[in-house]
Symmetry: C2
Subunit: 338 residues, 2 copies
């Protein structure tokens, strides 16, 4: 239910790099009324020459819009949120596409924006950057975290509908702090490991031969070390404490593997790899069952938020959200245990 | 120059799992006279039903052959080498496809087999196992290490010709101990990192949500943790000291990254990622120049071995080898510096 009964939804995207740009391209391809803006003049020119509607000033891009997606480098998002909130009406929903959520969620709370700002994180990307790397289908089938809160539940519902319908993404409802703990392990620590692997190879006296014999394991394991350094550094710094905590879990497991290897303990080594392999098997072979769930209009917001967060914690996601005068109906997909 | 002047080369493959099986399938597809054998009766039956020539007994597979490829689990290779050597004539070349080389090279030296055994390591694979996962094109374009030694230079030349011609692989000449140090970083440590990442996720209280939000970085970084555990354990144990030494280099870099993150030092973090990114750029964008090099018949074997090992150390490879009465001619490809 993207469109209201009277008028189609009008959208803006502020910050049109890889992620914001892909959001913009998809909204445009879907036929929505959308305008983009980026602080970088060359990016705006690039968008215009690609035939994508782009404003010259941020205020012109967001004026009169119903939904604004906030992109751009992570450290810039608080300031962008304040500026766009000031340039838009109270009815206008705001969401961001940053890779960490707790800090911005707290910031929005302090600024009294929770009723119309929904922290978001589309889990897709490439190791390239900028609008030139953006593609409209980037989010199809990808996880897209949206953080529900009782005060912003109406905004959450409208965004969940938009993201499932227009982007064909799997909406994962999750509290902001939980999100940050999860992505620390699901995304940020892998960037640390990739950096350490590629960095050690770069420094090795055997570098040239190592690159020649780089097996699939090395290529895959170091891939995200090719991401623009500044972007990776911003991402890690934006989630520092959670990343360091998750890293401790990974290095503890690594110590067990190395200890078993050092001791020549084949059984222990095999057992640890069997344990690790279980995660891979779950990743490859997960099956889901569908659950339809409705909440009546005027029901308790905390009940709905609790159910939504339970879906995310269980490894589930939403594929649809319909809002009408009677309330809201979600289509959820929950993994079978295992 | 695979075939001699009189008769086509006759080949056998002993141990026809993923790697040996792919060798067998490629030799068969190339029209060579090849017979396979595996100690597992079901594997032999599977090969027969696929129309691949397979003997019921190892001695029948290798009798009268010019070249035998030795496959199977790493710990079984010394015994296989001894058995196949006893069942074949002095003219018969032997090579293996195991993932570590120094131990088997020393074993062959002690058994007086250096003149006809060339340690080998085709650097290709999948996270599946067995003949059912084997494909004939597995090695096309892949690095295939062969270890040259003065006493086994004639054998090395013939194998280099066979591997470049039939498998379209890039032959990387490298001493056995150097190979093990290189693959420790290029393949084995990535398996440790992948195991640690997947294992930590499996143990995490956030496991289900982590798997749902698993980004490309997590999927790629943990991929080889899905490899059969026993195989990974064998591989690591077969190269223990080199793996632990290479791991120390990686954890040192990881400590630097974590230290910069903990200190909130954005410049240091970005600088480390720029360093890591240089290895990725070199991996993606290497260019090579071709070098033709001949060695006359009766020349000094140590000169030829030194040149060959220099090609491997520089990150180069061979794409051809021609032997005739005048000597040997190699086509080498050497990376441009950078």
């Amino acid at each position: 239910m993207v469109d209201g009964p009277d008028a189609p939804v009008r959208v803006a995207v502020v910050g049109t790099g890889l992620i914001g740009g892909s959001v913009l391209l998809r909204l445009h391809a879907a036929g929505l009324d959308v305008t983009g803006w980026d602080p970088d003049e060359a990016t705006r020119r690039q968008a215009r020459s690609a035939g994508v509607p782009t404003a010259e000033r941020m205020v012109d891009a967001v004026a009169g819009r119903d939904v604004v997606f906030l992109g751009g480098p992570l450290p810039t998002l608080p300031a962008t949120l304040v500026e766009v909130a000031a340039a838009t009406g109270e009815h206008c929903l705001l969401t961001d596409v940053g890779s960490t959520k707790a800090e911005l969620a707290s910031f929005a709370l302090a600024r009294g924006l929770t009723h119309r700002f929904v922290p978001g994180h589309p889990m897709a990307g490439t190791d390239r950057a900028g609008l030139g790397a953006a593609v409209p289908e980037l989010f199809a089938g990808a996880a897209w975290v949206l953080c529900p809160a009782p005060a912003g539940l109406a905004a959450f519902r409208r965004l969940a509908a938009l993201v499932t319908e227009v982007f064909a993404a799997r909406v994962v409802p999750m509290a902001a702090d939980r999100h940050d703990a999860v992505v620390a392990l699901a995304s940020h620590v892998p960037h640390l490991l990739a950096g350490a692997l590629a960095g050690a190879a770069e420094r090795s006296p055997l570098r040239d031969a190592v690159l020649t014999l780089a097996a699939g394991s090395f290529r895959d394991g170091s891939r995200v070390a090719g991401t623009p350094p500044q972007r990776t550094a911003n991402m890690l710094r934006g989630n520092r404490d959670e990343v360091l905590a998750a890293l401790a879990g990974v290095t503890a497991f690594l110590d067990e593997l190395a200890g078993a290897l050092r001791a020549g303990d084949a059984d222990a080594l095999t057992a640890r790899y069997a344990e690790a392999g279980a995660a891979r098997a779950a990743l490859a072979g997960r099956s889901y069952h569908e659950q339809l769930r409705s909440f009546p209009a005027g029901g308790r917001a905390t009940d709905e938020v609790a159910w939504l967060c339970g879906v995310g914690a269980a490894g589930g996601h939403l594929s649809g959200c319909r809002v009408d005068a009677d309330g809201v109906a979600y289509i959820a997909h929950l993994p079978h245990p295992g």
